[in-house]
């Protein structure tokens, strides 16, 4: 291979990095929009969570594991996914405690101090936010598990040293 091709391979790709850094905040803003408008337009918790997870995947693909693990680590992903499930089931169980059915949002009007229709809308929004949290974290941790093979980069060398001893 000639020298120019080798130079292309070895240099860092500044175009992709810069464009990703410009686009990622807008992608995350769009995902919040999709979650918030899930009642009366296409979208909802799952779709918004997937878009948010895709923005994190884009960050890790362009900037590398070492640079971007301070933004979102695997431990934080596990915490976020269980927080999302907790929000979802917490709202459902709160409706049970208020003598309704599971996820019967109308019952929330007793504690939220608003009328029935508003309570239903807010309950659905809360559940969508929980679903969005869970889907974002699970998408991200699936990506990390596939791309790193379940082993954190940097720990491979330690394992190799331990095995050679």
């Amino acid at each position: 291979m000639n020298g120019f091709a080798e130079m292309i391979i070895k240099t860092e790709d500044i175009i992709v990095k810069t464009i990703a850094r410009i686009l990622i905040p807008f992608i995350q803003l769009f995902s919040l929009y999709v979650i918030m408008h899930g009642h009366y337009s296409p979208g909802g918790g799952f779709q918004g969570g997937v878009i948010m997870g895709a923005s994190l995947v884009l960050l890790f693909l362009t900037h590398g594991y070492e640079e971007s693990k301070e933004r979102m680590s695997e431990k934080a992903a596990i915490l976020f996914s269980s927080t999302g499930v907790l929000i979802y089931s917490g709202i459902g169980l709160l409706c049970l405690l208020l003598l309704g059915n599971y996820l019967d949002y109308g019952r929330l009007s007793l504690i939220l101090n608003v009328d029935l229709a508003h309570a239903r809308s807010l309950g659905i929004l809360g559940v969508e936010i929980g679903v969005g949290f869970a889907v974002m974290a699970v998408m991200f941790s699936i990506f990390l598990d596939i791309s790193t093979g379940g082993i954190e980069p940097g720990e491979e060398k330690k394992n190799e040293k331990a095995s050679t001893r």
Binding site: M1, A5, I8, I9, D13, I15, V16, I19, A20, I22, L23, F26
Partner: protein, 104 residues
Amino acid sequence: MSFMTVLSILCLLGGFFFFFTATIGLLRFPDFFTRLHATGKGDTLAVFLSLLGLAFYEGISLTGLKILIIAIFMFIAQPTATHAISRAGMRSGVKPWMKENIES
């Protein structure tokens, strides 16, 4: 037929023309990089023109503004994606179509 409708029809026809030429380039060009050259440039302009035509048809409204934002997003993201794909091809050792690389 109003002026905006004629403008939108012209933009959509231009978009279809560039989609057509990009597809011909994808099917007829000899190797990876020249095909990427055809689809990267042609599709970017075609998507931009098609969305612009739809925005002209919609007029000044929230939907038209959303379509314009999508068009700007595509105009930034699509050349970057083409660039990344061509770099990936170079990294994994795809040979460009040159005189010394032609075998058959």
